[in-house]
Symmetry: none
Subunit: 193 residues, 4 copies
């Protein structure tokens, strides 16, 4: 039941927002009563916190695994990270949207910790960029910090518009993004850097 509630809440929070979804909405969708909700969760905030942690912990773990790989080239790592996050949309779109939108409703401590974990994600990407520069894979004059934020912008933003059932599958979109990030949009002979 705890899992059922969480799953339905993720759907509703993701679709309509945390504030906009009442406990009533959640239990109604599950044909149980408010009492049941509060038997499993001590507050709406606790539920939200758990949703946040489950999503971010899983993400950090997967990205860590990619980033800490010892034999892979860095551009391959970058490709893997982008693919991971975009393809994640298929199963975790709502959770992602909740993370990107509802953090402010966390309690102070959880907020801080989630913020730190989000920063870890950014650091891993930055690390890949920096190492790639050192290894001569990436252009030397890249600002790793801002470029990472750009890359994360591309993938995070796709949680807002990418419909897994739509014209382009997450896999196709991920490939297009990867190509764009690696090579840019310009034709080489017109390169007027």
């Amino acid at each position: 039941m705890r899992q059922t509630i969480k799953k339905e809440s993720i759907r509703l929070f993701g679709e309509n927002g945390f504030k906009e979804t009442s406990i009533q909405d959640i239990v109604q969708a599950l044909h149980v009563t408010k009492g049941t909700f509060y038997y499993y969760f001590s507050s709406k905030e606790e539920l939200l916190t758990e949703i946040h942690f489950e999503f971010i912990d899983n993400l950090v773990e997967q990205i860590d695994e990619i980033a800490s790989h010892t034999t892979k080239k860095n551009h391959q790592k970058l490709v893997d990270v982008v693919r991971l996050m975009v393809i994640n949309i298929k199963s975790e779109r709502s959770s992602g949207n909740i993370l990107f939108r509802e953090m402010r409703h966390l309690g102070e401590n959880s907020y801080t910790e989630i913020a730190r974990k989000r920063y870890e994600v950014r650091e891993r990407v930055e690390g890949i960029i920096e190492e790639g520069i050192r290894d001569g894979e990436f252009r030397a004059n890249l600002n790793s910090s801002i470029v990472s934020l750009g890359i994360l912008g591309i993938v995070n933003w796709s949680y807002q518009w990418l419909n897994p059932e739509g014209k382009f599958s997450p896999e196709e979109v991920a490939n297009i993004f990867v190509d764009m990030i690696l090579h840019g949009v310009l034709l080489q002979e017109e390169d007027n850097r």
Copy 2:
């Protein structure tokens, strides 16, 4: 007074969210009473609608101007659009965040219209990409639609983290983004496309 209310509301909605900001909060910050608010706006939603339209109309207009330029190269147009939107953060950050986050609170009609206008922005960017491909400025195998969404992801996401008073100015960030979008991250000699 109408402008004063709108300005303060943009600040509060941007900072704390639409649902999270009560009419009380707004009028209290302005040292007036609720009655005053309702003398100028017929509802909270009307205020939100107006904020949305003012921001998006202005944006569409500026982007239109860039896109419809007849002599500029397309890669220059792309640069201009990115610069416009990122530098916009200096003066319109809150409005931008409201647009990206609070659309769901609009009435049905306004929602549709705002969505159409947001789509127009996307179309202009797509148009620039497509024309650039035709003109041989951009790589031929780009998916203009997804690439545009990627570019918009980069710039829109920066509304979330870019602090105009921070280490990197919006101008610098815009330049880094432009460079990244045009050339990608790879070094050419290592290009293993």
Copy 3:
């Protein structure tokens, strides 16, 4: 278990109040579950009722014993009653506070019966006063009814402030009260009644 529950409940009701103490609080303090509580008591009210009866029945019995003594002088009986009730605080403070504060939560029948038993206590004290007047021990112009309520006020109120571990022991306090009740506060030669 029944006794354990009752004992813990007396402590909690006495400390925090009947309404303020939830069944959850009680069973949590005992490391059992709500089901267990309802196995032993059919309702919170039943528990409260039992607490009331146990305390008042015991009190009435002890006071009856004092009052029905055939050889003791009445002023000695009065002394005994005051001592009994004040020294009771050592072991029964919580029960006493519950009786004085939570009667309204009893069911109608229990309420009536407890009220009758409390009245019996009052009657015994009144009886001692009246008999003492008849026997020439007490002043003839005393209003036995109001004086009794005064005496009960002194002792009952001490349940609110008398800390058995405090500066004055219940025994000392009882002696001071007895002296005060018997002789008043005035010096005789200054008596200006």
Copy 4:
């Protein structure tokens, strides 16, 4: 309206208790809505706090006036205090009962301050006793502290049972109490201290 709400709340809290009286009960009795209540009071606790302060401040002031009188004999002051508090029941019974019973529902700060003010009342009575001892009006071996608590027990307890419309008027009761406190219950010739 603020006064109306307060007055009705005093009645209801005094009769049925703070916890037992819902905001619903209060506004229903006044034929207004919950919103109205919260227009005038920010919380139930604020209302309770105000009730406490109004009662205790008024009481402290009146007792201060009596205690600080320069020409009155101390036994007369004691008489005045008892009369004041008992006769108060006519107009302030509910407020008194609230003070004696519902303090625990105050916020921490208010609680502390009210406790201090209640202690002031006790100090004034103690002061009268002590001064009376020094002046040779009262018996020298009185424990002023415990005796004061006894006297306050008599008067405070009467808030629980004294019905202003009953057989004995507050004035009569006050006189009986005064007589009892000053002279005790024993006949002098039988005095076996």
